[in-house]
């Protein structure tokens, strides 16, 4: 957050245009702020007159921000807009930032140019930030996006070929197929009840009495209710570090298909963790991938599996997302961090999750043995270990997700 120097808004600026200008600037920076927010802000500013920067900051933030992730972007835009406005001679403001409040329409620059210069953004090669999604190095994301968005033709042999050996056109085709993979998780009993005709279910006294009342007689027919089954939450954690790069382009489509088709939660990680559910939840796949690429800042970086898992568990998993869920980790297990730490985090995850499926494309290699490093440490906590390196192999992933608690090995052993 920038300094709260006691600066005062010039008297000529009125609340409505101030609100409209800030909302416009935020929208240019990629923060969805609908026009009704501007109306609300104008009203709020009537209640809290903006005499100093601090009340103005809080008023705007409370009205315009709707999640924690947006706060850093908001801070940057707020600083860019108001520092220039409050003190026009101030040269700290980014040159490309909106020159003044309520200025005329202008083409929306695809990367929010104001942001990269804003005082709040961090240097590119910084250590993992405290929260995911804080910074957005746009150039990197742009290049990645271009690679991801390549398009082309179809072939059957693609099914068995490892993703790493596919050309750009083939990848595009496979991605289309992969997106169609339907995931379904094991069910659990929800707290919701359904009417049932089986007397083995619990007697629904309220339902019975209600029916009797409607009929105007004593209770002549008994109603039962059973707890309705519900699919477990599916959580996908995808490694997007450099070593996984040949596979990520396809796995991202898998993530997108799962998010739109099976209401899964999707995260990517390499040196930090980014939640992508939101970005991937649009129907248009190209748009989804572009949005995803833009919001995860650490594509093709190093891998910190333990650290990423810890962040996932602390910020999301233990709050309920991983509880009783099927967690799929897509990673080659080549981690920079200590295997012991990986094991510790996997143990925590194991305590929360119903089932952990680990997808490792290196497993396809006949000589591959998960003996070293993070993979060896993680393996004892996995319920299933599959390769998922080709389209055909992804079917195994779908099976592993669908299976009950028993491991695939056990299943093969008993049948």
């Amino acid at each position: 957050m920038a300094d709260f120097s006691a600066a005062i808004i010039p008297p000529g600026v009125e609340a409505a245009s101030l609100a409209a200008g800030l909302v416009t600037a935020l929208r240019r920076a990629g923060l969805s702020a609908s026009p009704d927010r501007a109306v609300r802000l104008a009203e709020a500013l009537r209640l809290i007159p903006p005499f100093a920067r601090e009340p103005l900051y809080w008023t705007c933030r409370v009205v315009l921000v709707s999640s924690r992730e947006q706060i850093s972007v908001f801070d940057a835009v707020f600083a860019a807009v108001f520092d220039a406005l409050i003190d026009p001679a101030d040269s700290r403001g980014p040159a490309k930032a909106p020159p003044a409040i309520g200025s005329g329409a202008r083409l929306r620059p695809s990367p929010p140019s104001g942001l990269t210069n804003a005082p709040n953004s961090l240097p590119k090669a910084s250590p993992p930030a405290l929260f995911p999604g804080r910074e957005r190095p746009e150039e990197e994301a742009g290049a990645e996006r271009a690679a991801i968005l390549a398009m082309a033709s179809t072939e059957e042999r693609l099914h068995e070929t490892s993703f790493a050996e596919l050309s750009a056109e083939e990848v595009a085709r496979v991605r289309q197929l992969v997106r169609e993979i339907a995931f379904s998780t094991p069910v659990r009993l929800s707290r919701r009840t359904r009417k049932s005709s089986h007397s083995s279910a619990r007697l629904d006294i309220r339902g019975t009495v209600r029916a009797a009342r409607r009929a105007g007689t004593d209770a002549t027919r008994l109603f039962y209710a059973h707890r309705s089954p519900r699919q477990r939450q599916l959580v996908l954690l995808c490694d997007v570090s450099a070593s996984m790069e040949p596979y990520t382009r396809v796995f991202l489509s898998l993530l997108q298909g799962a998010v739109t088709g099976a209401r899964a939660e999707a995260f990517v990680f390499s040196t930090r963790l980014t939640r992508l559910t939101r970005q991937l939840a649009v129907r248009n796949p190209d748009q989804a991938l572009a949005r995803a690429a833009a919001s995860a800042p650490d594509w093709a970086g190093g891998t910190q599996i333990a650290e990423s898992l810890r962040r996932f568990i602390d910020a999301h998993g233990r709050r309920g997302l991983a509880r009783g869920a099927v967690v799929v980790v897509l990673s080659d297990g080549w981690a920079q961090d200590d295997p012991e730490l990986v094991a510790a985090q996997m143990e925590r995850l194991k305590r929360l999750a119903y089932r952990i499926v680990w997808v490792n494309p290196r497993k396809a290699d006949a000589n591959y043995q998960p003996l070293v490093g993070g993979m060896a440490a993680a393996l004892p906590y996995c319920d299933a270990f599959v390769s998922g390196h080709s389209y055909a192999a992804l079917a195994e992933v779908a099976t592993a997700v669908r299976d009950g608690r028993r491991t695939t090995q056990e299943r093969q052993g008993t049948s």
Partner: protein, 307 residues
């Protein structure tokens, strides 16, 4: 939102909460310490009026903020704890069927005349928090707390918001009940899932940050009688220090309060390594964390200075 929500707060409320500093003072009188950000958020929630969504780590006082707000407005607080599968019967209203049946039987036994309207009278209506908040007769609006809204299903979220936007409920047997004083709505979320856009669009939003040691100490002093002196400050800085460790469950304000209460029950007025070791259980609630903190040692925790 309806136009009614745009007309601003009632005069009574306006007088009670004229501006942000006075709200801070009033919350302070009710033993709730709010910073400018939170106070601005609550002020706007009351005065616009507009529902407010509060998020923050466990134990930063999200629920407490709603309670404090109710104290400031001197109105009742209706709290709805959300959980998966919660439905209208538990949130809004339900007919008390058992009692209705009993009423019929009694009428039969006594040979009394019984009309249908008798059976659907208010005495047979089980009022749940949403209805209670809407029915609240005033003179000022009630505070309605929808706690952990992210635990409820998405459909329930939508249902609740429709209801609150209308500020009216239609019960087929009784007719429409319209709120004379639409409640001040506070929602809290633990971020287990993304809330629906429709909800976030209608809400103000505030992220409550974890407070600095001085503020924790102040909160503890307010909440634990007889914890004046250095104990609160010492406990607060110990807990802040502990939060710098990489713990699975970092202690929050609630733990600080529990801990200082425990210490004062034990008659301890000054924190040192042996007392910390005796009372780990109040602040560390996970075996891994206990090992982690134990490795650093209690002496480190109460170590001199703030380093």
């Amino acid at each position: 939102m309806s136009n009614a929500a745009r007309s601003g707060a009632e005069r009574d409320v306006q007088q009670l909460v004229p501006d942000v500093p006075s709200l801070i003072a009033a919350l302070d009188d009710g033993d709730y310490l709010a910073d400018v950000g939170l106070a601005t958020a609550l002020f706007l929630a009351v005065r616009l009026p507009q529902p407010i969504l509060l998020e923050g780590e466990a134990g930063v006082g999200k629920t407490e903020a709603a309670k404090a707000l109710a104290r400031v407005l001197d109105t009742p607080l209706f709290r709805l704890q959300c959980y998966e599968g919660i439905d209208a019967g538990e949130a809004l209203y339900e007919w008390n069927h058992q009692r209705q049946l009993l009423g019929i039987r009694l009428a039969e036994v006594r040979d009394a005349a019984l009309n249908e309207s008798d059976l659907f009278g208010p005495q047979y209506l089980l009022r749940r928090p949403l209805l209670q908040a809407i029915e609240h007769p005033g003179p000022r609006p009630a505070v309605l707390l929808l706690d952990e809204i992210d635990r409820a299903d998405a459909e329930f979220e939508a249902f609740t918001f429709e209801l609150l936007a209308e500020a009216a409920v239609t019960i087929p047997e009784l007719g429409t009940i319209r709120a004379t004083h639409p409640p001040v709505v506070v929602l809290t979320s633990n971020r287990t899932r993304d809330l629906h856009d429709a909800l976030t669009r209608r809400c103000l939003y505030h992220w409550i940050d974890y407070p600095a040691p001085a503020r924790i100490a102040e909160i503890v002093r307010r909440r634990v009688p007889g914890s004046a002196g250095p104990l609160a400050q010492e406990a607060a800085s110990a807990i802040t220090k502990m939060r710098s460790l990489d713990m699975a469950k970092p202690p929050g304000i609630a733990e600080a309060i529990d801990w200082v209460s425990a210490l004062s029950v034990l008659g301890i007025t000054h924190l040192d390594a042996p007392t910390v070791e005796k009372t780990w259980g109040s602040i560390v609630k996970n075996r891994d964390d206990l090992e982690l903190v134990g490795a650093r040692g209690a002496a480190w925790l109460v170590g001199d200075g703030h380093g």
